[in-house]
């Protein structure tokens, strides 16, 4: 199982090696030592491999990930798992702003807190944050789910499309066109699945969450809604 020390070899060598993996590779578990906040670690992967990053990652760690399972043992910088298509990304610590931005699929789990704009413009990803998320999270979120076990900052779900937001804690305020919605069985089942994917099945009660979604009043531009922007 390859171990890659970023103090001894450049990032390009790591990403190049991960991109070059053959479909039938038996090198399915990679360990990255001394990431030291380097940007773009393990981005653009497209293979069913696991990568464990033993420390803090900088910007865009696991960006555009497909199929790979990536663990950041420390904190992650801006845009972790941005535009992820599939696979699984977990951050043991905190994540900076724009975690999971525009991601189309896969699962992003953040064990700590996430900064501002978590899930901005998300397009199908499932994001679960065990701590709290910052302001403007799920801004213009189009599809997927954002589950927050802690609190959500100001303007949650501003200009939301069809993404579904589940928050267990306090919501400072809702953004334009974001409203609280009834938690039906289908949503409890979905939330249960999201908790299960994060390894929290049985530990967290889906009944403690509130659901938020789009009021859909801004779907068609009309002068009567101009004040909402």
């Amino acid at each position: 199982m390859p171990t890659f020390d970023l103090r001894l070899a450049p990032l390009r060598a790591l990403n190049g090696a991960l991109h070059a993996l053959a479909p039938e590779t038996d090198q399915t578990h990679w360990t990255v030592l001394n990431p030291d906040g380097r940007h773009a670690i393990a981005c653009g992967l497209d293979a069913p491999v696991s990568v464990e990053i033993e420390g803090n990652a900088g910007y865009y760690c696991a960006g555009m990930n497909k199929r790979a399972s990536i663990l950041v043992a420390g904190n992650a910088g801006v845009g972790v798992a941005e535009n992820m298509m599939s696979g699984f990304v977990r951050v043991r610590g905190d994540a900076s702003q724009s975690a999971g931005a525009t991601a189309h699929g896969g699962t992003l789990v953040i064990d700590g807190n996430a900064g501002a704009r978590c899930g901005i413009s998300m397009k199908g990803v499932d994001i679960l944050v065990k701590g709290s998320v910052g302001h403007m999270s799920a801004f213009m979120a189009q599809a997927g789910t954002l589950t927050v076990l802690g609190d959500a900052g100001e303007a949650l779900g501003d200009s939301l499309y069809e993404a579904r937001l589940y928050v267990r804690g306090r919501v400072t305020s809702l953004g334009a066109d974001c409203v609280e919605k009834e938690m039906r069985d289908v949503h409890r089942a979905e939330l249960h699945a999201r908790l299960q994917a994060a390894g929290l099945a049985g530990e967290v009660d889906p009944g403690e969450f509130r659901r938020f979604g789009s009021a859909r009043t801004l779907y068609h531009f009309h002068v009567d809604n101009a004040g909402a922007y």
């Binding site: 981005c43 931005a101 199908g124 213009m140 499309y161 779907y219 002068v223």
Partner: protein
């Protein structure tokens, strides 16, 4: 009047301030309560390339023979960092226009025409279609704030990546695609519900300033294994600083779009009042690259109101490496063609003035998703027309370059130009014709 019944009456006098167009807009705004949204670029009269002239060769310089001596037109973009720069036969490229704002047939026609001419075409907001990729030998993939349709597979299929910060029609603004054009296919590519009015963000979701941009470019290079040239596109507003910052952030190519550059849809007030003319933007951008020692190492592509080979030659003479055309390409395909005059009139407009591209009712079948209208555009024939137009532009630019004694279009230089107006002389940094005066730089 009663004392002088036969005295001539004062002629009715229209206001130069409250023109018929201004009054019409006031009445429209008063009736609707909403600003006007339209396509295309600035329509107001602006200092432009028509205000420049070439100084043909004479005794001090000698020309090249028009039909015998070679005048090169090829251009290579992305030589700074990319392992696979783009090689084009002509410096006239096709600007970014989305499937969604344009029909699939129109996108295919752009690809066919560009490929025949040996140049590149560019995706737009909404992602890459298989037809577009299939018909474009060289395709630039735009990386936009909305990231609609963005995925790493298409990123790797592209020949270059264009990080779009802004565009000339609306620097600082996002876009809007009205529900009429959000068909099932367009909606599916953008992960949106069909039929809604789609808003496009004005800022990228995961970076803000130029330092972040450098990190974003590094990520895109890592994902594509440093193979693809990375362009950065800016709307012309502060071209010196934007070009310098884009180059510092690691761009291979800077694309600079002036306010005459078109858009699929935005507010008229934005199009006409934000940004600066293309003519005024080029010299500051070139100066920025020269100050950094990167002129020609980072290529400069200029767009916004480029219509002819003369415009191409002038842009290159001012220091750019290539141009991009959008509106002119659509006209070559058949946009605003008088053959559809009766239908333009039914829409309350006339051929040559139709700019409600966002409504999806284009009689020419180009800016629409209506299958009946879109079927009017034969992509093969339209592509042929575009290829012809690109060939003419290139030939025209060569004609001028030879007359100036240049064996390659890139050998054109500011010293080959004179300005017709003081404004153009100041903006382009070339002397007023018949003088040695460059306003702000030299005496008479």
């Amino acid at each position: 009047m009663a004392e002088h019944p036969e005295a001539p009456r004062t002629s009715p006098r229209l206001s130069a301030t409250f023109t018929p167009e201004v009054m019409s807009e006031i009445r429209r705004a008063a009736a609707t309560g909403i600003y006007d949204i339209r396509g295309a670029g600035a329509k107001r009269s602006l200092p432009h390339f028509d205000d420049l002239l070439f100084l043909g060769a004479s005794i001090s310089r000698y020309p090249l023979e028009g039909y015998r001596e070679r005048c090169g037109t090829e251009v290579v973009l992305g030589t700074r960092f990319a392992a696979k720069p783009i090689h084009l036969k002509t410096p006239v490229t096709i600007a970014g226009m989305s499937f969604g704002s344009l029909s699939a047939n129109a996108k295919e026609a752009l690809g066919r025409g560009a490929t025949l001419a040996g140049t590149s075409t560019t995706t737009g907001d909404g992602g890459m279609t298989p037809e577009e990729r299939g018909h474009s030998k060289t395709l630039v993939y735009q990386y936009l704030p909305s990231r609609y349709g963005m995925n790493p597979d298409d990123l790797r299929k592209a020949d270059a990546i264009e990080v779009v910060i802004g565009q000339g029609a609306k620097p600082g603004g996002g876009g809007m695609l009205l529900g009429q054009k959000i068909t099932e296919r367009v909606a599916g590519m953008r992960c949106l519900p069909p039929g809604i009015d789609q808003r496009s963000a004005c800022r990228h979701p995961d970076w803000t300033g130029p330092d972040d941009l450098a990190i974003k470019i590094e990520e895109l290079r890592e994902i594509t294994d440093w193979q693809k040239p990375i362009y950065v596109k800016v709307g012309a507003s502060r071209p010196y600083y934007d070009t310098a910052l884009a180059a510092k952030a690691g761009a291979d190519v800077v694309v600079l779009d002036g306010m005459q550059g078109g858009t699929a849809a935005t507010q008229d007030v934005f199009i006409e009042h934000v940004g600066i003319p293309t003519l005024a933007a080029i010299r500051p951008a070139v100066q920025a690259l020269q100050d950094l020692g990167l002129h020609r190492a980072v290529q400069l592509v200029v767009s916004g109101g480029i219509r002819s080979g003369a415009d191409v030659a002038k842009v290159l003479a001012l220091g750019a490496d290539a141009v991009a055309i959008g509106t002119a390409a659509l006209i070559a395909l058949g946009d605003n063609d008088p053959r559809w005059q009766s239908e333009y009139e039914a829409l309350g407009t006339t051929a040559g003035a139709y700019d409600d591209w966002h409504e999806g009712k284009d009689p020419a079948g180009i800016t629409t998703q209506d299958p009946v209208l879109a079927a009017r555009l034969d992509p093969e024939l339209a592509g042929r027309r575009l290829a012809n137009f690109l060939a003419v532009m290139t030939l025209e630019a060569q004609t001028i370059a030879r007359a100036c004694g240049k064996s390659h279009l890139h050998n054109l230089e500011p010293e080959d130009l004179a300005a017709l107006t003081i404004e153009a002389a100041a903006m382009a940094g070339v002397p007023l014709a018949g003088t040695g005066w460059i306003p702000g730089k030299t005496g008479l």
